[in-house]
Every structure is written in C-alpha cells, then in structure tokens.
Assembly symmetry: C2
Homo-oligomer: 193 residues x 2
C-alpha cells in the first residue's frame, strides 16, 4: 500500500484549500479543475480520486471555508460585548474584503451559489443556519434581547457590506460602506441591550 490514508487526507486538504482560495477570488465558473489542482500541486487527472465532480468540490469547499473562517475560529473567545464588536470590525475590514485572511464563503459567494445546483445551495443554507444559531447563542449569553433576530440582522448586513465592497474598486467607497455597516450594527446592538 504505497499511499497512506494520511497522505490522501493531506491531498484532499490541499485541494480544498486551493478551491476555497480560487473560488472566492475568481468565482466557481472562472476556475477550472486543472487550475485548482495546479495550486494544490497535483495534475488534473488526480482530482477524481478525491471528488466525484467539480460541483461536489464546490459544496465541500464552502463547508471547509466556513469552518476555517475568521468568524467560526474566533467565536469561542467571546466573553463580553467588546469581543463581539471586535469580531464584527474584523469581518467588516478591508483585509477581509481583500481576502488576506480566510474569506467568509457566505459573503464571497452569495450570488455565485444562488446560480449553482441545489446540492451546493443546500450546503450554503446549512452553513448560514449553523452560523446564525451559534451567533444567537453568543448574543443570548451576552444578555442581549431578540438574539435570533439580531443574529440574522448582523449576518445579512455584514454579508451585504462585504460582498458589495468586494465588487468595488474605489477604496474610499469600500471603506465608507464597511464603516457605515458597522455603525448600523453597533446601533442595533445598543438597541437590544
């Protein structure tokens, strides 16, 4: 058995990381399987030993991106409202928009996913619901009112601001949009204290 199971897992991990990076940066349809595999340091043909189709990779990549996203990783470090606010600020930063760290697939791929097949959209919906419920739990522990509605308001506003900023080239306008979204959300937090 020349290839260990760890080796396969490591290869899959590289493919997924490459897929997240490239799909978020250039879009699902603009990136070929060959390009993903090249960034993962493999050749085109090896892909199908790991995924059944390009669409299945898409679905897995969204899950992967969600797990590794800034928001998911830092969420358990929240003990007070200021921590939560800091996380919002990080999400609404130019660094996130310019995809320096790990991008949030919900923002970078919204309409992309809307135009994909049902299985992919299903994963997007599940990912969103999972993020919403864990965020609502955090908000509840911080003693905020209407945690569920608040979480939805925060998520969709953040996704809107980041996805719009992502399409713009005018950096001043980007910054303005991101900061205005922050203002709205902080107001909304205060209103539910």
């Amino acid at each position: 058995m020349p290839y260990s199971i760890e080796h396969k897992q490591h290869s899959q991990e590289r493919i997924l990381a490459a897929a997240v990076d490239l799909f978020c940066r250039f879009g699902f349809d603009k990136i070929s399987v060959a390009q993903v595999m090249k960034q993962a340091n493999m050749t085109h043909g090896a892909f199908y030993a790991h995924f059944k189709s390009k669409s299945m990779l898409y679905a897995q990549a969204i899950k992967h991106a969600a797990v590794h996203s800034l928001w998911t990783r830092e969420q358990h470090n929240i003990s007070q409202l200021s921590d939560f606010k800091y996380l919002i600020e990080s999400y609404l930063s130019l660094g996130h928009v310019n995809q320096l760290g790990s991008p949030c697939p919900l923002a970078f791929l919204v309409t992309d996913v809307a135009h994909s097949e049902p299985a992919v959209r299903e994963v997007y919906q599940q990912t969103l619901q999972s993020m919403l419920s864990s965020m609502a739990k955090q908000l509840e522990q911080l003693d905020l009112k209407n945690p569920s509605a608040l979480a939805q308001q925060i998520m969709t506003s953040m996704i809107g601001a980041v996805s719009v900023a992502r399409t713009l080239s005018d950096e001043q306008l980007q910054l303005s949009i991101l900061n205005n979204a922050k203002t709205v959300l902080f107001n909304q937090l205060k209103a539910n204290e």
Copy 2:
C-alpha cells in the same frame, strides 16, 4: 435599406431584456449567447451585429436592469417618508427575491460581477454610486440626517438581505431575513429623523 434603425433598436432592447432576465436568474457564466438570443427570438449569429462581445452585453445589461428596476422607476414618486418606507418593503419582498418584477442587478449579481472583468465592475460601481446619490437626495428632501451615510446603509443592507434570501430555499428563513432587514432599516430611519 431593408432594416430600419427602429428595428435595430427594438432588437437590441429584446436582447437586453432577455439578458437581464437570464443573467439574474441563472448567472452570467451559466447562460450562453445562444440562450439569450433564443429568448430574444433570434439566432446566435445575429448577436454580434449588436454587441462586440458577451462581456459588453453584461455591462449594458446591468445598466439596463438598473434603469428598469423597481427602485429607479418609483423613486420620483416619493413625497413623504411613508412612500420611502413602502419602496423599501417592495425591495425586501419575496416577489422581488423570486424575480417576479424587474430585479435589481446590484443584489442579484453582486459576487457574479465581482468575478467579472474590470469594465463590468466599473459599470456596477457607477450604477451603485448613481443610486446612492439619488437616494441621498431623496432622504435629504425628507429632512433626514446624514443622508449620504443613510443611503449607503440602506442600499447595502437591502442588497445583503435580498442576495442572501435569493440563495436560500427555506421560505420561512427567507421571510425572516427580509423582515429583520426591514426592522433594522426602519430603526435606522427613525434614528435619523
């Protein structure tokens, strides 16, 4: 001269209408030139007598959709705050999300455009700026504070809510997201009265 100039304009109009509908519904990359032309009741080859390339059609289609969007059409009918609120409600409706009327390209194509070539992104940015400035003017006439910032907050929140709702299949979740966005925006309007 067997073809009048009105005939050409009418053909272009049909192509643009088909492009808006299909691109918003299925995505730019999922729709071929042949499909657009079929919906416009012409054949593939006739396309290039009207547009230089598929990308140029994309840019023109975004402009076309913006001009014909619900928001642009109804904007001049605003005389009081309740009119403005009604427009927000229309934008944040299931009908808009399900693309029954004229879709707003800024919401239906956000990440799609982000992954397109610079010329298309430029048109998106110009369209957004144009909508923002006319909305800010309306808000100013309604004697609201910070009209420019308010307009940005409203646009990005609405785009976020509609584009997210568009990708979901769970109708309850769609409605919840749309309604929560509405609540945030009405709060924000009240805070700037």
